[in-house]
């Protein structure tokens, strides 16, 4: 997958991703305010297929599933960060949003064009020609992501099992 990168710093928290003020509003409205307190034009200008790049502890804070859901709703193809808050990481993968762990995420600049291979764990920075090693997404989680998240994954799995039984 390839797209443009949007770069943020350390400790991007779930309140910044899914502001409490709009939590009751539904994902459509909520997503319009995603990251606005650090980058007001983000939600309006991000394009489907783009990447969000962060530093350490991306997704810190609450367990709200709406934080990764807002990014996915905006069409973000994958996240790249040095590290993630645990619950956020789980929620992102379960909702079908690849979260890639890359120790060198800090070398990516805003607007860089990236080519990302989550399963191989490689990022080609097309703007600088640099290649960055990441932790490959493990096969089980890659399958979950390919299916589009936990719900569709379960649907597929159940259909398969029922097919075998009948």
């Amino acid at each position: 997958m390839s797209g443009t990168s949007w770069v943020f710093g350390d400790n991007v928290d779930t309140d910044v991703l899914a502001p409490g003020k709009y939590m009751k509003s539904g994902i459509e409205e909520l997503a319009r305010h995603c990251l606005e307190s650090v980058l007001p034009n983000f939600a309006a200008d991000v394009r489907p297929g783009d990447f969000v790049v962060g530093g350490r502890n991306f997704g810190a804070g609450s367990s709200r599933e709406q934080a990764p859901e807002a990014l996915r709703h905006l069409g973000v193809a994958a996240l790249v960060a040095v590290s993630y808050a645990g619950l956020f990481y789980r929620n992102a993968i379960n909702l079908g949003l690849p979260a890639i762990v890359c120790a060198n995420a800090g070398r990516i600049r805003a607007g860089d064009r990236l080519n990302v291979d989550p399963e191989a764990g490689r990022i080609e920075n097309l703007s600088t020609g640099e290649s960055l090693d990441c932790e490959p997404i493990p096969p089980h989680l890659a399958q979950l992501l390919r299916d589009g998240g936990l719900m569709p994954h379960l649907e597929k799995r159940l259909a398969r099992e029922r097919g075998i039984r009948s």
Binding site: R90, H140, L141, M151, L154, L158
Partner: protein, 433 residues
């Protein structure tokens, strides 16, 4: 020499307690921190709020059934007593769902899920378990690897009996020395919250160790593991010992293996923090974070409206005994509302039989049902605008227990009781018999 090679290899892969439990659940001889594994669950705990009412429609959408109803435990605690139509409906869904799903381990109004679960003999060392509640690591007090998950993940667990896990590193929190009289596990935990901060645990496993921990009772150990999420850990663990065994045997648990569920000497840990129990003063965490912990002296004199002895963290039998020691023969200050919500029916009955309950009630406490009560911020007793409370609960985030303008201080049951008598936050050591 091959023998030596094998020996040194075994040493190089020394495993922490967390790794051993995860490895067993993943069906592997050993696991490495950072590795992602699929674990089979021994148990899944749900309560009325995050449980049936959320997963029932999802299960129906999938047309799926629970993988093994005997491994599921459901407890009603958050919306009891049901004070309006909405809470009655939520409780009804739970009752109907367990019947339809064939879940026999259903405890309705018996107490708070994290306390009822071990009481009813559902936990044992080495288990791998999840709960649909963030304080699920309470099970770590029994040497079980247990953590909280959201509703979507719980659906996955119910359908497959499995969950993925990034094998955690272990952060060792070691305590030495003896606690002074009037100091409790809650004070230890608040001190750790103050030192580590809300994210010091990095979603890894924290393990409490050292002579102070070994000397703690099971209910006090539960308080520590319960609040592991308050330092940002995925789970909190205490290696099982004879105290664990004795407690579990009384709860009717058999086949308890304590020797297998110990970390290997020399297993690598991510960090090792040391604390001195002898130097610990009662701790109070100021609004709006458990990390705002400081010795009680810093907040002494702060006027309070409500003193609440409640929650899975702070109203177990031993918490009630602490409060009773302070309150016996005393009365809460006239302007303070003293409230007790025992953590479980069992603890309440024991407290009643031994006179502990009376000591608290005679001091002017009103008795709420054995449920989450004010801690969950639901129900009729929520904090009003601008009210100031001192509570034995786990969290004091803004607005959690009621109005956004209410202010909650956290302390041990000793400190809550003493503050109720004084009418302001005070050091309980002044009131011990």
């Amino acid at each position: 020499m091959p023998m030596n090679e094998a020996g040194s290899k075994a040493y190089a892969t020394a495993q922490t307690l967390a790794q051993k439990i995860v490895a067993r659940a993943a069906g592997k001889p050993a696991v490495t921190p950072g590795e992602i594994v699929i674990c089979k669950l021994d148990l899944a705990l749900m309560h009325d709020s995050g449980g049936p009412r959320r997963v029932k429609p999802l299960l129906e959408h999938l047309g799926a059934r629970v993988w093994n109803p005997d491994r599921v435990v459901v407890v009603t605690d958050h919306y009891l007593p049901a004070h309006d139509d909405e809470s009655r409906r939520i409780i009804e869904i739970a009752r109907d769902w367990v019947r339809d799903a064939g879940v026999r381990n259903f405890y309705d109004g018996m107490g708070i899920c994290h306390v009822v679960l071990p009481e009813k003999g559902h936990l044992r060392p080495g288990m791998f378990a999840v709960g649909g509640d963030s304080h699920s690591p309470t099970g770590g007090a029994f040497g079980a690897y247990m953590f909280g998950i959201g509703a979507t993940e719980m659906l996955g667990v119910l359908v497959t009996g499995e969950i993925w896990l990034r094998v955690p590193q272990t952060i060792l929190l070691e305590w030495t020395g003896r606690l002074a009289d009037g100091i409790a596990a809650k004070d230890m935990m608040l001190a750790m919250c103050g030192k580590l901060g809300l994210d010091g645990g990095q979603y890894q496993a924290v393990q409490y160790s050292g002579e102070t921990i070994t000397a703690l009772s099971m209910q006090e150990r539960m308080t520590l593991c319960n609040m592991a999420p308050e330092v940002g850990a995925q789970t909190g663990l205490i290696a099982p010992d004879e105290v664990t065994r004795a407690w579990l045997e009384e709860a009717g648990v058999t086949k308890i293996d304590t020797s297998r569920w110990q970390g290997d000497p020399g297993a690598a840990v991510a960090a090792h923090h040391c604390f001195d129990a002898a130097a610990l003063a009662p701790q109070v965490a100021a609004p709006h974070s458990p990390a705002n912990a400081a010795p009680v002296a810093e907040h002494a004199g702060t006027r309070i409206d409500i003193a609440y002895i409640g929650a899975c963290t702070g109203a177990k039998l031993e918490d009630m005994r602490m409060a009773a020691r302070v309150l016996k023969g005393r009365r809460a200050a006239s302007q303070v509302r003293l409230i007790l919500a025992p953590a479980s029916r069992r603890d309440q009955e024991i407290a009643r039989a031994e006179g502990t309950l009376d000591a608290i009630i005679d001091a002017g406490a009103s008795l709420l049902p054995t449920a989450c009560g004010i801690c969950a911020g639901y129900g009729a007793n929520r904090l009003e605008e601008n009210e100031v409370a001192i509570t034995s609960t786990a969290r004091n985030f803004k607005g959690r227990m009621g109005a956004a303008s209410s202010r909650v201080y956290l302390g041990s049951a000793y400190t809550v009781a003493a503050s109720a008598v004084a009418g302001h936050i005070c050091d309980p050591r002044e009131m011990l018999p």
